[in-house]
């Protein structure tokens, strides 16, 4: 046994159980929406997901057995590896759908940006958690922001606004628990508000502006980007209390709901299982978040607590945003739902992240 036997009682089984349950529910939903109704056979996406699951849990196990402090101490190496990988994507990346996000590794492809959250969380936890540094001074805030900024710019360049956006909550979560002054929080809020028009004019691309406009008024473009939002709402709303049943979704089954296995997997799920299914999965996600916060609370050191909060912030932001979007209540953005959406790299990175969170709680009493 590579793990010290004494650590096992401290493994957070409810958290692990909820993670496994959500990933299996996701797998079933991917099965149902990619299924060919004439043959009853699921699509290739399902099989990718089937292969990705055990690999993901293997990654979880790896991240669990290595003491997280070993990882945070070497976090700069990992961070450097991420930056190199992202730069490699710039030059050798595989282009799909207009974006250069993937690296071809032998028979399969890997999306390095999905591991950005982990690397950034590790390096920031180490940066703020080690020694007496905290996020009180502006210099410390800015140093962390630079660590965040490098991968964000590289990912934005792919372009992949959604994934880049998920890195920012990692930084914000860590600096928040690392003692960010309330004053700075307020200033950040005001600056953010003031910057909105600047961002609108100079940062956002036309297609992104269009998405925001059609979110505010989907009827402006009912056939274009408003279409997805309208159809998502119809999909969720027609599910009712108990849903239409496994594989019986009409919106996802007949192609009215776009990318039902990926960005809108939760809409498809809500259509099939209705409000009760929604309550069950929301409950599972909430268990995952609350148990993870417990892990942060119980962590034996600041590094562990910050690491948990960093990973969890990225995860929580993505979950909340995607579920809100899947009900047609947020602008459509290419953000997947962690644990449930199709996507091997995403699943791998997410499960590895939970390996680290479990790791922190398990080692609360070790030295």
């Amino acid at each position: 046994m590579i793990v010290d036997r004494r650590l096992l009682p401290h493994l957070d089984l409810p958290l692990l159980g909820a993670v496994i349950a959500l990933s299996l529910i996701g797998l079933a939903t991917v099965y149902s929406v990619t299924m060919d109704p004439s043959t009853g056979q699921p699509g290739p996406e399902f099989w990718t997901q089937v292969y990705a699951l055990p690999i993901g849990f293997a990654a979880l196990l790896v991240c669990l057995v290595i003491d997280y402090r070993t990882l945070t101490q070497r976090s700069l190496f990992l961070y450097g590896a991420l930056v190199i990988a992202l730069v490699a994507v710039m030059y050798f990346g595989v282009v799909r759908g207009g974006s250069r996000r993937w690296l071809a590794l032998g028979g399969f492809t890997l999306q390095p940006s999905e591991f950005g959250r982990l690397a950034v969380a590790l390096v920031l936890a180490a940066f703020y958690g080690e020694s007496r540094r905290s996020a009180r001074s502006l210099f410390e805030l800015a140093s962390g922001a630079i660590l965040l900024g490098v991968p964000v710019v590289l990912i934005l360049n792919q372009p992949d606004l959604g994934t880049a956006a998920t890195l920012i909550p990692v930084y914000m979560g860590i600096v928040f628990v690392a003692g960010l002054r309330t004053k700075w929080l307020a200033i950040a809020g005001i600056v953010g508000l003031l910057l909105t028009p600047v961002v609108w004019s100079y940062v956002l691309a036309d297609y992104q502006k269009e998405r925001v406009v059609t979110f505010l008024d989907p009827s402006k473009d009912p056939r274009g980007s408003g279409y997805q939002q309208i159809q998502a709402k119809i999909t969720v709303g027609s599910g009712g209390l108990f849903g239409k049943g496994f594989g019986a979704g009409t919106q996802s089954g007949y192609g009215f709901l776009p990318v039902a296995h990926n960005d809108f997997v939760y809409s498809a799920f809500a259509e099939q299982y209705g409000f009760f299914g929604v309550l069950v999965t929301l409950g599972l996600y909430l268990i995952v978040i609350l148990r993870s916060l417990d892990a942060a609370r119980l962590a034996k050191d600041r590094v562990g607590a910050f690491l948990v909060v960093g990973i969890l912030s990225g995860f929580g932001f993505q979950v909340l945003y995607n579920i809100t979007m899947s009900a047609g209540l947020a602008p459509v953005k290419g953000l997947t739902l962690p644990l449930m959406s199709y996507g091997g790299s995403s699943l791998l990175a997410t499960l590895a992240g939970f390996g680290l969170i479990l790791n922190v709680r398990m080692r609360r009493f070790t030295n």
Binding site: G237, L241, T250, L293, V309, G316, L329
Partner: protein
């Protein structure tokens, strides 16, 4: 290993983690409430939107009811027609497909291209109809090339068909797709664009029974609109239209149309059972072909008919109004006898003209008829006899009798668009013209001129009333309705009143009418030996004599007078009554042979004898007046 300040750090960290915890619970609470609002509270709305997304109703056309004659012979039915279309999803090169299709079917490439352009914007899964009502050889040619042209498909469409072409066109009417105005009318509530409805005749009057109810079949379509699968459980079968049995006798109808067409005249005619008002045959000429509206809509023919000055769409029998001329002497005689102004033996002297209110009124016979009694006055159509009778009767009495006999207002036939007939009264003139009635005007009315204006059907109803002894029956064309399981007789419409006519009076009028056909009268060409046909001719002035002189040579319209022949037979036990109006025939002399041929057919059929062969050209013996644009009248009207 606590460093200074570590305790504070710890407390601070715990507080911030608590903030995150509360934030997470609040956010998930809001999410749950949002989903509850959408999924539970607004479920009905979104469910409907989802159903509208993927369910399409495909209409299943209910076949229109078949129309039969009184003996069960098919008059109007449905046939399948074929539409050749292109399924664009299967075509690799549309241009090539169209060229191939044109070569195979012999259709015009340019026209096919035009069709293609017209439908190009429609969703690709919907086949484009290229050749509607394709001929059998075209269908066969396409089917034989199934493998070379898989994108060319043949669709079956139900089509209304009138096997006898323009025969009784005005009786049957025609069907077209419902127009936008009609879609908003309550009569057609529940119908959708594209529904076929009757636009005239029986098709219109009995549209709700003939139409049946379209069914529908639901299919699931995907987001591109392509059918994925049927939902057989949700299919609503169409309810077939009800079958109608008419009072029409197809053999009589054929005889009438053939005889009328052979005569070369336009006009109208009707034959009815005087006891019940059942119409046995009716026509209006010129006619259109109702197939032009349903058998591959022939817009050239339709616009030609619409532009035709002879107005083929008008049903002259119920919509045309004409002065009855001398046929009006029949109600005059009944009024005179009924009011005891005259008796059957009353005589008048006819010197060839008579002066009333300082104006001379002429008889048509130069030198006059001499002394004539009522029977002779009817037989020879003496104007002077009826001028004098009219002068004594007064206009309102004439109006009252004409109304009881069926010459005022509508007859109430179960066909749409009937016009009212008019016999004037003092009240009518005051109301519409705003002038009092002048007694001199009554003199013209006495021989069916002046303001008198009646439809041929009203005149036929008058003849039926005289034939049946005084009951004003309501003419009708539907005898029974098949509701899907069995035939239900159509209750005959109620009579429109009754006039008591003394038997000796009735006999006198019938005798006069018998003499007109069988004696020295003007209707000798209506005579059938042994059948005691009784009748009367009349002349309907097209324009006044002064008008004719003024218009001489200045119009291309035919201004010659119309000829009437009204009749029933046999005299003492009438079974059939009716009217023939031959336009511009100048004299009932030419209308009578048309009636005679139909009556011969009627009696032959009754006796079980072979029917007389249909005339091909003119009815022998027959004389057609040389065509003239204008006739300068030489004699008085009313012969």
């Amino acid at each position: 290993m606590l460093t200074p300040g570590a305790y504070e750090d710890r407390v601070n960290l715990q507080t911030r983690l608590l903030v995150l915890r509360i934030g997470a619970i609040a956010a998930f609470g809001v999410l749950a409430i949002s989903f509850w609002l959408i999924q539970v509270l607004q479920n009905r709305r979104y469910e409907e939107l989802a159903i509208n997304n993927h369910l399409r109703a495909i209409p299943l056309r209910a076949p229109r009811g078949v129309i039969l004659d009184r003996h069960g012979q098919v008059l109007v039915q449905n046939r399948v027609s074929f539409t050749i279309g292109i399924n664009r999803e299967l075509s690799e090169d549309l241009n090539q497909t169209v060229e191939m299709l044109a070569r195979v079917t012999g259709a015009d490439v340019a026209k096919l291209r035009e069709k293609l352009e017209k439908h190009r914007r429609e969703p690709a899964f919907r086949p484009i109809p290229m050749i509607e009502h394709a001929t059998d050889p075209q269908v066969a040619a396409v089917r034989a090339r199934e493998f070379e042209l898989p994108e060319v498909i043949v669709q079956i469409m139900p089509t209304r068909t009138y096997p006898a072409g323009s025969l009784a066109a005005h009786l049957f009417g025609y069907v077209t797709e419902i127009n936008s105005t009609q879609l908003e009318q309550p009569e057609f509530a529940g119908l959708q664009a594209g529904a076929l409805i009757g636009q005239a005749g029986i098709e219109r009057a009995y549209n709700d029974r003939l139409m049946g109810r379209d069914g529908s079949r639901y299919v699931i379509v995907n987001s591109r609109g392509r059918e994925i699968r049927d939902l057989p459980d949700t299919e609503e079968r169409p309810v077939d239209g009800q079958r109608l049995q008419l009072t029409i006798d197809l053999d009589l109808q054929r005889a009438l149309e053939a005889a009328f067409r052979a005569s070369g005249f336009n006009g109208a005619a009707v034959f009815m059972a005087p006891g019940t008002g059942e119409i046995l045959a009716m026509t209006s000429l010129p006619a259109y072909d109702p197939n032009a509206f349903s058998g591959g809509t022939d817009s050239d023919a339709i616009s030609r008919w619409l532009d035709d000055k002879l107005r083929p769409f008008q049903n002259r029998l119920i919509q045309g109004r004409f002065s009855p001329g001398s046929t009006f002497k029949i109600p005059m005689a009944i009024a005179g006898l009924g009011e005891r102004v005259i008796d059957p033996n009353h005589t008048e002297y006819c010197p060839g003209a008579w002066t009333f209110y300082g104006r001379p009124f002429r008889c048509h016979k130069e030198g006059g008829h001499g002394v004539v009694n009522l029977r002779q006055a009817i037989e020879q159509s003496c104007n002077v006899y009826f001028y004098k009778l009219g002068d004594r009767l007064k206009i309102d009495t004439i109006h009252a009798y004409a109304e009881k006999l069926g010459l005022v207002g509508t007859t109430g036939i179960d066909l749409p668009g009937e016009n009212s007939s008019l016999v004037p009264s003092t009240e009518w003139k005051q109301k519409t013209i705003g002038e009092p009635w002048y007694p001199g005007e009554t003199i013209s009315v006495a021989i069916g001129q002046g303001y008198v204006s009646v439809t041929p059907l009203a005149l036929a109803t008058m003849m039926a009333t005289v034939a049946n002894g005084g009951t004003r029956v309501t003419p009708h064309v539907v005898k029974a309705i098949h509701n899907g399981t069995d035939w239900t007789p159509m209750p005959p419409p109620p009579d429109k009143g009754r006039i008591a006519i003394a038997p000796e009076h009735l006999q006198a009028v019938r005798d006069g009418l018998w003499l007109a056909v069988n004696g020295a009268g003007t209707a000798i060409r209506g005579r059938i030996p042994g059948r005691d046909v009784v009748g009367k001719t009349g002349t309907a002035q097209v324009i006044s004599r002064q008008g004719a002189q003024a218009a001489a040579g200045r119009t291309d319209l035919d201004l010659r007078d119309h000829g009437w022949f009204v009749f029933f037979a046999p005299r003492d036990n009438p079974q059939i009554a009716g009217v023939v109006l031959a336009e511009h025939s100048e004299h009932g002399y030419f209308a009578a042979p048309i009636a005679r041929f139909v009556l011969e057919t009627y009696f032959a059929k009754q006796a079980g004898e072979p029917l007389p062969p249909l005339p091909q050209d003119a009815l022998p013996p027959f004389w057609v007046p040389p065509a003239r644009a204008i006739t300068t009248p030489t004699g008085a009207g009313g012969q």
